[in-house]
């Protein structure tokens, strides 16, 4: 397939309800206000150095209803969440939050970079997003620091209950 053919949008790809689904989610409410001025992309520090990441394009794909294309896109995960786009959008679209909504939807479909799975697992096990080396914990005393507060995995589990992403994590674990 040539590059132009790959980029061509087919009617069968379009899900007209997708934008309403996003607009119902926290942070996605103002998606429809975007008139594609491009302030987000021109002010985006990541777009400056990435050849593929363009927030305006992601927002347009969401508006058009290109569900599968946008959710499976690797570029979705490049946003650094600096919120420059959100602060500068003349239409008050929470651009970075719309992207977060899309990432959440992508995660539900199983499109998740490994780093997030590792951090989620670590939080469930210890409360901390990273596995803090024993040596570091011991060194605190000699550095004159108070003991590291402990996590409470049982309590964390209880309050997370049946959160969607947990189910996904468990499925991913079973597959191994």
């Amino acid at each position: 397939m040539s590059e132009t053919e790959e980029k061509r949008i087919k009617a069968s790809e379009i899900d007209p309800k997708f934008k309403y689904e996003i607009a119902k989610m926290h942070g996605g409410e103002k998606l429809m206000r975007c008139f594609q001025c491009g302030t987000c992309t021109s002010d985006c520090p990541v777009a400056r150095f990435s050849e593929t990441y363009r927030p305006r394009q992601i927002i347009r794909m969401a508006q058009l209803g290109l569900r599968e294309r946008v959710l499976s896109s690797d570029t979705l995960w490049l946003c650094a969440a600096c919120f420059t786009c959100t602060d500068r959008c003349p239409q008050d679209v929470e651009v970075a939050s719309v992207i977060r909504v899309l990432r959440n939807l992508a995660a539900e479909k199983g499109y998740v970079p490994q780093v997030f799975k590792e951090q989620a697992t670590s939080i469930l096990e210890s409360g901390y997003a990273y596995k803090i080396p024993e040596l570091r914990i011991k060194k605190r005393e000699t550095s004159g620091l108070p003991p590291l507060p402990k996590g409470n995995p049982e309590s964390i589990r209880k309050s997370l209950g049946d959160v969607g992403f947990l189910k996904f994590l468990e499925c991913a674990g079973e597959k191994k």
């Binding site: 959440n104 951090q119 989620a120 901390y128 550095s143 590291l148 996590g151 209880k158």
Partner: protein, 298 residues
Amino acid sequence: MSENKNKYLMFLGCAIPYRVSAYEISARKMLQKLGVELVEMPEFNCCGLPLDPVSHEMMLILAARNLALAEQKGLNIITLCPGCAGTLKKVNKILKEDKALREEINKHLKEAGLEFKGTVDAKHLMQVLIEDVGLERIKNSVVKPLTMLKVAEHNGCHILRPKEYIGFDDPEDPKTLKTLIEATGATCLDYMDETECCGAPSVGVSDKVALQLARDKLNHIKMVDAEAMITICPFCHIMYDTNELRIEKMFNETYGIPILHYPQLLGLAMGIKPEELAFNELRVDVSKILKKVTESEN
């Protein structure tokens, strides 16, 4: 909101105990000198920010748990990490304003015997310094003004943006960190794209983009001949301090710009001995600056 402006619940976050202890060591020393009392969290879980991209709901619950724990203690939270501060602030505001969401999140917390009521505040170290400790007390603590140093600041995104939720300083022209740096006697230089992101959140997804962002900033700081960069975020600090040598090799350039945590700078001005401020944990050689400070006569 707790009215106590001299006593806080210390929320360390994950990055600091994992690999940025110099920030914690120097911040605790500095706060002690300023008469700010710290109480440790009775138990801890991540603020939730790292998981917001994959589950907004999980982030809300994790953040609300910490706020609820602080409420039980009746103390406002202080964080050293802008990411934690931004998340706790944002969730505090959202849950206070959105009753339906608050009830939903509280159903989750109830399972663990917790409840979010919205009675405490969460602040970053810098906000505590400027609003609660006050500039006068900080200036009065300086015994060795660092007039011999010219430095540049780097704020970090989440202390400023999104402004609708954070409501601290001016995200387009932030002044607080500059003011705090100048309180030490050092000169704080202006440079291009001061509010630009360090790139840390893109590490692991695209190291190439992340390192180019960090390099961009180092370049701009070098252009104004700053002798050091001053940060107030563990992630920004890792991004520059840990990667500076890597960037120098990758692009065949030389920067040699030490990256200091703000409390290390103020600590020096307060007359705390350099060896008590964990300078030995920094990767980029800091000896030139320390020599300049210790050898100066004022």
